[in-house]
């Protein structure tokens, strides 16, 4: 575990010292601050709409941070050849991969914690209402979503050598799964035949990322979810992230490094 956490530590340090992440981070924080604090005409609908815009922005930023942080890990290590002295040490490639995952995921969680904290503060001060359990559930499910995205991106990074192509493919897949995943079954029923079976196969095999999107809990101040559902979602995310990581480790172990 010490080796995995050491690799993760370097990933987090790199993210802290890279300036480009700060741009996205501060931009999102600034927009959240502005949109979250304005109160147009005292209209609750407008306030809810602005909250939705802020949360959507946070989701977009988190996907970009997760994909672009994870996509560069292995390819950049190969390109800059820092992988050579690392793998010449008593560390397995699976440990390197798990360390990369842990580092990227923790980096995403830290960004999300900052976003949610800022949003909760602004929203709470304005509405004088502090649904902490709702915020925690939304934050935790968002972290789980990031875990699946990071694992998927790391899997892509051992198949596609170029960072840009991997990032583009993973971004398209994640957005597709988020927006269209829930409708696949309906389309499959309508299509029928082989196409229907194929779409049904996709529906049941792809991760349902939309299950982790509980922005409505915060936007509409709905009552918090049952904790068992959160637990089930956690297991679901662990299973998918675990599968993606296992495939990534398997592929990475078989690749010659030269």
């Amino acid at each position: 575990m010490q080796k995995i956490s050491a690799v993760a530590g370097v990933v987090i340090l790199e993210m802290i010292r890279r300036k480009d992440v700060y741009v996205l981070f501060f931009l999102t924080a600034l927009i959240t601050l502005v949109l979250g604090s304005v109160d147009l005409f005292g209209d609750a609908k407008i306030a809810r709409y602005l909250k939705e815009v802020c949360l959507t922005l946070m989701w977009m930023s988190s996907v970009i941070i997760a994909v672009f942080t994870a996509a560069r890990q292995i390819p950049v290590e190969r390109e800059s050849r820092t992988l050579f002295p690392l793998l010449a040490k008593p560390i397995t490639r699976s440990e390197v991969m798990l360390g990369k995952f842990l580092g990227c995921w923790l980096a995403c969680c830290i960004s999300l914690a900052a976003f949610y904290l800022l949003f909760a503060l602004i929203s709470g001060i304005r509405e004088q209402h502090w649904p902490l359990a709702n915020y925690f559930q939304a934050f935790w499910l968002h972290c789980l979503f990031s875990g699946i995205v990071v694992a998927l991106t790391l899997l892509g990074s051992v198949w596609f050598t170029a960072v840009s192509s991997n990032a583009t493919i993973v971004l398209s897949c994640v957005v597709g799964m988020l927006l269209l995943g829930r409708h696949l079954h309906k389309v499959a029923v309508k299509a029928g035949g082989i196409a229907g079976h194929f779409l049904d196969g996709l529906y049941f095999s792809l991760p349902h990322l939309e299950w982790f999107d509980v922005r409505d809990l915060i936007i509409h101040n709905w009552p918090r979810m049952d904790w068992t559902i959160v637990g089930q979602d956690t297991l679901y995310a662990c299973a998918y992230a675990g599968c993606f990581l296992a495939l990534a480790c398997w592929r990475f172990r078989r690749q010659p490094i030269h």
């Binding site: 010490q2 370097v10 790199e14 010292r17 800059s80 002295p85 793998l87 010449a88 008593p90 030269h258």
Partner: protein, 282 residues
């Protein structure tokens, strides 16, 4: 005159000692790229049955022209590439097992380190990978930084280092675990005369400390000075193996002359000389 069979010279005093590094009939083939020379789909053979043993406390020079298979051998020893057939082991453990690398230090040809880290952070990171206990870690980092004379720059990012300093941080990371075997890939490549001398002195000091050093180099004068034995590789085959003095043929005064003879360079030169009038005429 080239050699069709390897010159088999063994260290008589090492015959009964277990080798620290050994390869046995090591063969490495790479898949041919489509569209390569002659459109041949035959795999490229980088190593053709390499058998080699390096014993405790010796400095072993691994020589050969570019493309001879030196880097491939190191890549197999360090687990970067898998051998097609044959065996390779470090301290009696198969190189495919990461634990075989617990007692080695590796210095790559060029400086491949995380440039956003400071020297201290880089060494701390590698010390954790070696599972060096926390109590000893900081002391060990201080020692190696002192050894390579980088204490003054310990908290500066590596990207601000000069080339010589980067090479020294490379040496520091190779020594962080107090290794018994050092694998150095062209350690003096691109260094100025002072840097080369420092590396030479380091190798000599390591030898005095009883460490084993396995290194590849194109600097034959340097190899001659520091090596107990050398292995000369050409076209994936070990052409000669033994102490420098025993590799010299009568009339040869330097390792360079022996090296050129062993890799068959003279023969190629003669062929070229014979061919050139014809090629000019045509």
């Amino acid at each position: 005159m080239g050699f069709s069979t390897p010159i088999a010279i063994t260290m008589t005093n090492c015959a009964s000692i277990e080798p620290i590094l050994s390869t046995e009939n090591l063969r490495v083939e790479y898949a041919a790229l489509s569209g390569s020379a002659g459109n041949s789909r035959e795999p490229k053979v980088a190593l053709k049955g390499l058998s080699l043993s390096v014993y405790r406390g010796e400095v072993f020079g691994f020589l050969g022209p570019n493309g001879a298979g030196k880097t491939t051998t190191m890549n197999v020893l360090l687990g970067f590439t898998s051998a097609t057939s044959g065996k390779a082991s470090l301290f009696g453990t198969d190189v495919r097992q990461p634990i075989s690398r617990q007692r080695i230090g590796y210095l790559p040809e060029l400086t491949y380190y995380y440039k956003f880290l400071t020297a201290e952070e880089l060494l701390r990171f590698y010390a954790k990978i070696f599972n060096i206990p926390k109590a000893q870690r900081e002391e060990r980092i201080r020692q190696v930084l002192h050894r390579v004379d980088l204490e003054h720059a310990a908290r500066r990012p590596i990207r601000t280092y000069s080339k010589g300093m980067q090479q020294r941080i490379g040496i520091a990371q190779a020594l962080i675990n107090d290794p018994d075997l050092l694998i150095l890939d062209e350690p003096t490549s691109g260094l100025d005369p002072v840097g080369r001398m420092e590396v030479r002195h380091l190798i000599q000091r390591l030898k005095q400390e009883g460490k084993t050093v396995f290194f590849s180099s194109h600097e034959l004068g340097e190899v001659e000075t520091v090596c107990d034995r050398v292995g000369i590789l050409a076209q994936g085959e070990l052409k000669a193996l033994g102490p420098v003095q025993e590799l010299l043929a009568p009339g040869e005064r330097s390792l360079e002359q022996a090296f050129l003879r062993i890799i068959g360079y003279q023969a190629q030169e003669e062929t070229l000389c014979k061919k050139s009038p014809l090629s000019l005429a045509s």
